[in-house]
Point group: D2
Chain length 343, copies 4
């Protein structure tokens, strides 16, 4: 059995790691840390785990974590970048679900996160954990930076168009919508049910922190700079991201449906829907899956791509486990066969 440690396990990506790993045939969670909840059983905080874990939260302990085969960071940004260097030196392999190692350029990171990066030397060694792009680098990595939730849905939706250069890369548009769990489990008035139920709004229109991450990933694929107008919205529900993507076609000779089906033919967790079927967040709820469809309305020159994921699974904890499987040479879908919970 693979020994797994989780740093910062009280948030939603933490409990989601526990939910998924409970059924993973080869992984066993041996440590989960939380300063605030140290000593409390995980199934006392999250009663859905009763019967699945005997584990309690503990104070972070480098030696204990270093003894794990894999350590997940399910922390807010600014935690991993301070602890990871020591863990790497102690020989651990780390999968960071936070934003700390997603952006290669520490100055760019700094500009968006408002503080200097604490471990730029490690930053350079981190592999961006989008398996559909970086599978082979992930396999050998000691530090994997799991993509953000929006970046996963937007990149998977746009990659074929940019890689094949069939659209104008400088005028991409993403109108994305996320469930509230993306905002985490912090006590904030803004995320009270009474504030966000029964309503819909855009936010962070001037610039969301996921923007530079998306542009970095898409530029890599396009081989040239890209510019994205990214407008995230908040949905009155818990889980799910739906990205509606717009791009101007510059090459109309390509059969886009065939392009997407071919591009993702061998991907276990990207599902290109048949023409005319559109994705819904509910069909991927609880599942490690991205469903994508596309359309060119009225046969004009704008292509519309729709892409859905569960932000806590393919957008976070599921993708992290997918990366773990790749790093450890396990079957990539081990522990990740859950069917979406519908209805």
């Amino acid at each position: 059995m693979v020994k797994v440690g989780i740093v910062g396990g009280t948030g939603y990506t933490g409990v989601e790691l526990l939910r998924l790993l409970a059924l993973h045939e080869e992984a066993e969670v041996v440590a989960i840390t939380s300063r605030a909840e140290s000593g409390r059983r995980v199934d006392d905080l999250y009663p859905n785990l009763r019967g699945h874990y005997e584990l309690a939260f503990s104070e972070p302990d480098v030696r204990q974590l270093a003894a794990c085969d894999i350590v997940f960071f399910a922390t807010p940004h600014n935690v991993a970048m301070n602890l990871v260097p020591e863990l790497l030196q102690a020989g651990a392999r780390v999968i960071d679900l936070s934003a700390d190692y997603r952006i290669r350029d520490p100055q760019l990171w700094s500009r968006w996160y408002g503080e200097p990066h604490a471990s730029p030397e490690v930053l350079r060694a981190a592999v961006y954990g989008l398996p559909e792009v970086n599978r082979s680098s992930i396999a050998g990595a000691t530090l994997v930076a799991c993509p953000g939730c929006y970046p996963t849905s937007v990149q998977l939706g746009l990659i074929p168009l940019l890689a094949r250069q069939v659209v104008d890369p400088m005028h991409l548009i993403a109108s994305s919508a996320s469930g509230v769990s993306g905002a985490g489990r912090q006590a904030k008035v803004d995320n009270l049910l009474s504030e966000v139920a029964d309503s819909f709004k855009a936010y962070a229109v001037t610039g969301h922190r996921h923007l530079p991450e998306i542009e970095q990933g898409l530029s890599d694929v396009a081989g040239s700079p890209v510019a994205l107008t990214f407008v995230p919205h908040l949905l009155p529900m818990i889980r799910g991201i739906h990205s509606t993507l717009f791009a101007r076609r510059v090459d109309t000779s390509v059969d886009l449906q065939a392009l997407y089906e071919d591009w993702y033919a061998d991907e276990p967790f990207v599902d290109v829907l048949p023409e005319g079927m559109y994705p819904q967040t509910r069909t991927v709820k609880g599942a490690n899956r991205c469903q994508i469809s596309l359309q060119v309305p009225q046969g004009r020159d704008t292509v519309v791509v729709m892409s859905t994921i569960d932000n806590l699974v393919k957008g976070a904890s599921g993708q992290a486990i997918q990366n773990m499987n790749i790093m450890l040479g396990l079957p990539e879908d081990m522990g990740l066969k859950q069917v979406g919970l519908l209805p």
Copy 2:
């Protein structure tokens, strides 16, 4: 008191007309028709109306309706176009909340609604009931075609940009999202709570019936053809439309915030928000109001406009009453002063 008749009052726009007219100082509903519910009290079907109405649904009766000062059609499309000619001849003034008289070209209507238009001669006389564009024509009209819900939010959001020709009119994008009440009160599996709660999806991506209506209205304002990529989405909630609009700036010399504030300065029901405040559907819930804000992310050449309405109020019954007030020379906001229900 103004005598009001309502044809087809069992749907959501019907009950919303009743809700709003219950507090209208000068209007009295004297007849409300429904073949299916004939004889049943309106407050038996809609118990929120108890204590406000003694009225029962009745079979449609042209003489009774013609005796009204104003007749609202709160019917599905294909009803008004068959009954309105007779009512107009009998001297009634009609406000149609359905799609029958919104599109000037009967062949275009036909193409989108899949049947010939039943009264093209009357179609020509209909005034499109968006007061912010056609107020003076509405005042003298005998037949007003109330705009659709999406068209209201999209047009109010884009009009200043197109009228002042600061954006490319041939590549407009609308990513709109609506509560489920927009689909009406028909018994359809697709609109069951278990099908649409907790989920989000795009629909009608190849072409929604509101598209030609929006393009017609925006072309009038722009003075030239426009092309819109329009993607509607379904929100897991009852009321509210949020449109996120994208346009490419061709003239960057204009102060867009000032443009919008000036354009709508005298409009009682269009509220341009201060810079940095974004609209939410909840702040207009139950109110006859459109809230708008705009932003140019990263100072690039794409402008983003956000526009919200309550689809049943400013997107339907509230706008219809606004039109009635204009037609009858009443204060335009009479009966329409409700404050949005927040939280």
Copy 3:
């Protein structure tokens, strides 16, 4: 115009007072206090109020408040009991929406609220503001303690049974369910959308603070002690309380439907539904109304009463305004004619 002051206006009962008073023909809000938001416009915090108020929050100022005809306290418990004595001395009339003056016995209050009562001498002068019981005392009161939300729905549902002594008063059961807005606008993890959406649970089963208030009110009506098993539940929605009440009949000779209809025949805001129609929280959403129905299943000896209110209206701010109208000799329904927002 009546001059109104509001202490602690940033919470949900505060914004609800503003929503309702915006359309009140005789009242004008001249001051609204908040230490935290002092200087901020109310419509900046609550954009649904844009166009209805020019007011900003201000620091509490006894002289300014004392100059008002009516001062509402929309504060958490433990605020009013410290400030009200001074205001009363300065000649103000006060309506307290918090729990501070609801329980006559200061020691009982102390036991449930965990601290000594700060102004027991004033407590004795307070009138419990349930108009259906205390209308005439309210008219002459200088201090009115508005009932809690659960207590309003439970008492209105049980009063006729207890007053007429047709049920066993020592084995009453209330299974109540409330929307999350009842928990207020505090930043608590427990009330995040991600914690309470899509779920249902009982809470405070060992004893909710509203229990002694309910038992006090029902004892008064019954003329003898009562004992209630009260289990509150949290609904995954914003507004509304539904109480399902169970009582054992000791006198089966009474026609219960007739009893309820007669009892509330003259009450403007209590609506006894016809036999076979059950209340829903949506039919009273946004309205100052309690809808009640009852049933004796299988003709056995247990009577079931269902009672619904909007917790923020008849359960708080609407009832407070109803009390204000009574105190000032205004028509009791002034400003309270809103129709429930359905759908």
Copy 4:
């Protein structure tokens, strides 16, 4: 592999069987019938199943079904009772999720379902499929009648009290609340999102069809007649049942917490929570589990039990698979280890 057939697979219990069986190590669905959707792939109707099934719906065919090891009926009532006799004769073993074989007395069945029972002779052979009561009979049964959703939650909550005779069996009260998926996937106005979102109501107060089923089951356990006042309510969400149960203690010498913990100590799917922790529907969402807690408020004589299940899992398809495992001698929890989806 066990060959499984499903009759009537287009409803919510059908898709839930498919979701759960997709990960069952020993079962393979070889046939799923639907007259309406015959020929359509199951993953076209339910895209969450894409990648998990190649199966299409087919016309019901007795020979094909009889060749299965187990046939599930996921049909409305009145279907199974007509088809099951033939299947049993052909040698199939049947698990009926509908109401047709739950009530032993065909005349009682008839009174509640409004028509004669079509196969009373088979009715007598059916075993009521509540494993916590009938495990050994289920093991040898050819026909198992799966309990209804409410009956599962109410019975599991009350059984220890009645079996140990610590409460008055003639005055039981169940105030239950269910998500809307319990009403199935029929096109009914009453279950539209716009009708039931954001609201809460009681229904079927005069008598719900699950009442005789519950009373039959509880009488068996009590060894004497029982009388239950059962009030179901509709929750504005998809999945989950919460039953709040009230009973009058006649024997106060029993430690109720210990009684429950002992009673269910060996049950894999009944989880008695520690004192002071209350169940929530979200902690069992998607999981085959019943969570129970109890309390005696104010130390009076009324005991309150809270019991939650996912109506589609432990209340339907999960319990059906649990029965299948028992019938086939498989580990009882095979394919049923899913962790509740929280948040």
